[in-house]
Subunit: 698 residues, 2 copies
């Protein structure tokens, strides 16, 4: 996949230049100096030779088959460069040139034309407005970066070209190699999705580290990312989430799911390891690229200093991992081998004067102990410490059975040790807390890899009935589905809805009430009134015909006064629900990732405490239960303060049905069941009120 | 203060050695090689000369006045070394030797003797079991660390000697100087409190950075730390909080305050900047030592790369700081000076090809803009970037009026810039998020420095009446104060308690009920029953004499059955409270920091949602209000879901009275008012139930 882009045999540089400082010069020079294992073809009509290579006016003029064009000509000349590339048999182009979508409408138009032309000619397009790409395997530095990294196991996809320069400089400084580095620029054609898929198949790539500012095609992203993450870890730093996130948490339950929550849900589903800041991105990528995955979350700490051992233990506990003592037999045997003052608990303190041997002995013990899942080795450079020798001793002992991460603290004294570690594929961090954070990322990813297969239950439902309601709405040009219609839709998906019906006048209201049985609720039905109770449009617990008559007349008078413009269809009469625990079930179609389900306890729990949980549809039964457990108020559902447990399975089932409904009908963009009334196990949970919103464009 | 320890003219090294690898050799050699500006006196009975200096058998033998002894002899010889130091006129000793409290009881005894001897002889004692101390001002490296730092503005107090070696190595590597570095070891005499006080007066010290595992004398710590923090920033990394923190949040409200919460409350009170991990400790200390404090929380970001600018903006928003656009005039004028593609919003994007001049222009604009309180300058090393020159341009422009922090990202390419920055006292961080975190720490500290003077209201109360109740409890050997006595105590502190009285039999119960007025509550009174309702010992809403008679007899029968061993005093009859919002007020005496007040909404808000806030007593009215606002459920108190606001001032006043009661009577170790019933403004909040626990040893 993307063979022509990543493994070309011949690369044309259209706009190559011999003037230092020009981008066309930097790229040509990088290709040559990087030692590209293929043919380099400078293209520039003004000369026949450039930097010792024959130079042509056209990529087709050399008479060889060209696989990839790197295009660095001015924006207006790009289309022609693509055309000539196509004519020369090129299969992929990387457009470095900037001045497209990012500068305004004219640029966007040109970019659109460029993408269409590439599609038309059967070319794949990287960029425009990108730094280019680097593949250390075939030594292709087709970028204008200043440096060429050494080969390694991490591949980078970056939506910021400038960030690539910092990444390369870091990579050189730390001695951490890279497999591929791809700057995706404006993503006119190739996006993070295509490159994730390509790198999944790349043998050199053990981990994919991405810096993204936007995600193209959310559901496809999830699908591809999930399949890639099943093969190798994908670590993503998603920037620019807060401004959008700040708009979340409005009064409406659906919009509680802000962009940041949506990204969180999407990444969780897809098994993407999320990095919260720049340092984490490579902290995690290094650990995942260099060490095996942990089988559990019990961490052993080996240290020559008490303080940093405590810091590590604090970080382990804070992040939800465990620091358990070593197995008794192992700690007894370790005790005999270490000085009396050493501590063989966990952390294992090998003392300030520890030599490399003492570290080796402790590491062997932790590796032998089957209850230990991961190991953090800490060193502070004390008078007797030999950091580099200790690093070598640690490297010699590791077995590839469980992850070992180092935190050799300090500066110049530990630098040689750091270099030894990196060269031996053992990640090293400047502070214990960062090693622990990386280990936690590994544990989470390992747990995701171990997850049972996801089975989404499909319930037998009456889709036709829903289609009928939606068609009716569409014909009348309405997008807000009120209680009566919403309940009809939910009935079709086998929700338990109290018996009820619309009545157009007082007599009909009494007739319906007599039929469904008292006590009844009466709620106004009007396409113009969404928040019924704000207008006095809800009356509960009417227990006889007289009360129904009174309520009807009063409601009509008052609503006519408060909302004189509202068109009134009538009232909805239904039997009162039995009391129970009120919960809110919601769905909000995220513009990126599709239907996002919401769950929370009713009233103040959602509105004041913001105690809600989210999950992307489609959802499995286990995931629905996780949504319940994901709220702090879950304890109340399980039974607390003298109340018994409510029917948790009933709530989970309802979430699954909403998931199915949202998946079946993309026109539904929002849905609230509020409240959904749940009783004890054995009772039937009931939809007390509901509303839906449809997309305006069908 | 501590002149003899920090600024000695003559230092004796008792146990000096000429054998490399020995601690006594390392210390002597460090003093000599460090260039100590004073007299060094090796003390060792086996020789007359050591490393070119005259060596004596006794510190008094040289015939000069000795100020400080560094003691490195074996544990059993330490007391003698102290005695001989005292005889030679020494005023301070630093005991490097280990093998005391940390190895068990014998060691603890010896340490105790040592401290007593020092007290007796009027000597101050640092250690034992420490690395020693370094003062770069008089070039005294009286430690066995391998390195001597260069002079700087940060002083370090560390409870881990080994960590000092990592700090020194980091300091050398980063080129960040230190003023003093003091390893406090077992703290047999001098503790962090003494050293904080001493360093507050030290002109070389601009910031004190502490690594602490325990804190000696919590209330004195708060007092001293608060006074030091009023002069210069104190940054503390407190390790070892999680194991204890895990024990918190039990069912009992008082013990919701775990150790970590107590440290948090203490640090907040004292204005201590808390570092959550090792890197933050020096990230924050560097910023505070090198740059002026911000006047507000609006941050301008200058960057040559979009991605890192977004990362900074994300971090600014996430941490609660602000990214506002520049003032219109300033951005217009900036727009004219920068290339058209540059962005003059905030972040200010000076573009990938920015030269030092462009950074200087943008920095001038941000410095000119009075709405900007702090500035983060980001650079990624792109083809045209000149990191070191840019650093110099930035350094030349800063005015010392607002903090400027740098995040020059990458490795080798930006290293020269980092060195320039540190040399010019401009902190530089490897990633934007870390610069922002440091700026946030500065903002918080600046806000604390700007806080209004704390005025703790003293209410007129009846202390005598409380003393009488407590004496009565003491005489009967009881420590659990039940409802009736607790309410009497609270009445004495002017709490509003419903009229009520203990009744010993049914007739008396009716008489009391008749007097206080119906409806009444009846609650069992027994020193053996704390949780009254668990035993059927609470009956509410009794509305006439007959119901009181029935309830009394039933309660006696049932309790006799359920708790046959309980001694029953009678029942407490009181008038029912008017309904209102139920809140919980608590106090728990933290073993370190004293009375910790707690506030939360009643019932599930505390028990399920753990939505509580804490503050150390004594508390001001503002702080009491902050406690209310510190809970998520505060919105409910302010009025939500159709209910009006409750009497917030009444709750704040109650917290202040509890604060006064807890301060006045140290014997009270726990207190719960649960529920405290609060109505609308203008009503009187009422103590519905209360209990206290007294210390067993008076």
């Amino acid at each position: 996949m993307l063979e022509a882009l990543l493994y070309p045999k011949t690369v044309a540089v259209i706009g190559a230049s011999r003037t230092p400082g020009k981008v066309g010069h930097a790229i040509l020079s990088n290709l040559i100096k990087g030692g590209f294992r293929g043919t380099i073809l400078p293209v520039n009509p003004t000369t026949h030779e450039m930097m010792g290579l024959p130079c042509y006016a056209d990529p087709g003029a050399a008479g060889v088959e060209v696989d990839l064009s790197i295009i660095v000509v001015p924006p207006k000349a790009v289309l022609d460069a693509i055309r000539r590339s196509a004519a020369a048999g090129v299969k992929a182009v990387a457009v470095i040139t900037a001045g497209f979508k990012e500068v305004g409408e004219d640029g966007a138009r040109l970019e659109h034309e460029m993408a269409a032309l590439c599609r038309d000619k059967g070319l794949r397009l990287l960029g425009p407005n990108c730094l280019g790409l680097i593949n250390t395997e075939n030594r292709m530095n087709a970028s204008f970066a200043v440096q060429t990294p050494k080969p390694g196991r991490i591949s980078v996809i970056s939506q910021s070209g400038a960030l690539c320069t910092a990444i390369l400089d870091w990579s050189m400084g730390r001695g951490v190699g890279l497999a591929k580095l791809i700057s995706i620029g404006n993503k006119a054609d190739l996006s993070e999705i295509d490159l994730l898929a390509a790198l999944a198949e790349d043998e050199q790539t053990r981990v994919i580290a991405c810096y993204l500012e936007s995600i193209t095609a959310g559901d496809e992203f999830i699908r591809v990312a999930e399949s890639v993450a099943s093969v190798k870890p994908v670590v993503i730093l998603k920037a620019g989430t807060t401004a959008a996130g700040g708009k979340a948490a409005s009064s409406h339950t659906g919009s509680l799911a802000g962009a940041d929550i949506a990204y969180g849900a999407a990444f969780r589903r897809a098994g993407v390891v999320r990095a919260d800041d720049f340092e984490s991105l490579f902290d995690y990528a290094m650990a995942l690229a260099m060490q095996p995955l942990p089988k559990g979350d019990n961490v052993a700490v080996i240290t020559n200093a008490g303080g940093p051992g405590i810091m590590a233990a604090d970080a382990i506990e804070t992040r939800g991992l465990k620091v358990q003592p070593l197995h008794h037999e192992i700690s007894s045997s370790l005790k005999e081998k270490l000085p009396a003052a050493a501590s063989v608990g966990n952390p294992i303190d090998v003392l300030g004067d520890a030599d490399p041997d003492r570290y080796a002995i402790a590491l062997d013990a932790a590796l032998d102990d089957t209850s230990v899942d991961g190991i953090v080795v800490i060193l502070t450079p004390q008078a007797m410490s030999k950091p580099a020798e200790t690093a070598r001793a640690v490297i010699q002992r590791i077995r590839g059975t469980k992850p070992v991460l180092a935190a050799f603290m300090g500066g110049a004294d530990v630098l040689p040790a750091r270099d030894e570690f990196v060269a031996a594929n053992l990640p090293d961090y400047p502070a214990p807390e960062r090693a622990v954070a990386a280990l936690k990322a590994m544990c989470d990813y390992a747990a995701w890899r171990r997850r049972p297969p996801r089975v989404v239950t499909r319930f037998p439902v009456n889709r036709r009935r829903v289609e009928r309601v939606l068609s009716r709405m569409a014909r009348s040009g309405r997008f807000e589905v009120g209680e009566a219609d919403a309940k009809e839709i939910l009935r079709a998906y086998d929700f338990n809805v109290p018996p009820g019906q619309i009545a157009r006048d007082a007599e009909e209201a009494v007739a319906v009430a007599d039929r469904v049985g008292y006590p009844v609720a009466m709620k106004i039905v009007s396409p113009d009134i969404i928040h019924k109770s704000d207008f006095g449009g809800v009356r509960l617990g009417l227990s006889n015909a007289g009360q129904v008559l009174d309520a009807f007349d009063l409601m009509m008078v008052r609503i006519a006064r408060r909302a004189p413009e509202a068109k009134l269809t009538g009232v909805y009469i239904e039997r009162m629900c039995k009391p129970g625990r009120e919960v809110i079930l919601g769905m909000h179609r995220d513009p990126q990732f599709g239907p996002m389900l919401m769950f929370g306890l009713g009233g103040i729990f959602v509105e004041v405490m913001k105690d809600v949980s989210f999950h992307l549809a489609p959802i499995t039964q286990e995931e629905a239960m996780e949504m319940l457990m994901g709220t702090r108020s879950y304890a109340l559902l399980k039974g607390a303060r003298g109340q018994g447990a409510v029917d948790l399975g009933g709530i989970a089932g309802a979430l699954q049905r909403i998931s199915q409904l949202a998946t079946d009908f993309p026109r539904i963009v929002e849905m609230d069941i509020n409240p959904f009334i749940v009783g004890e196990v054995g009772t039937q949970p009931v939809v007390a009120d509901a509303r839906l919103t449809l997309a305006e464009a069908s």
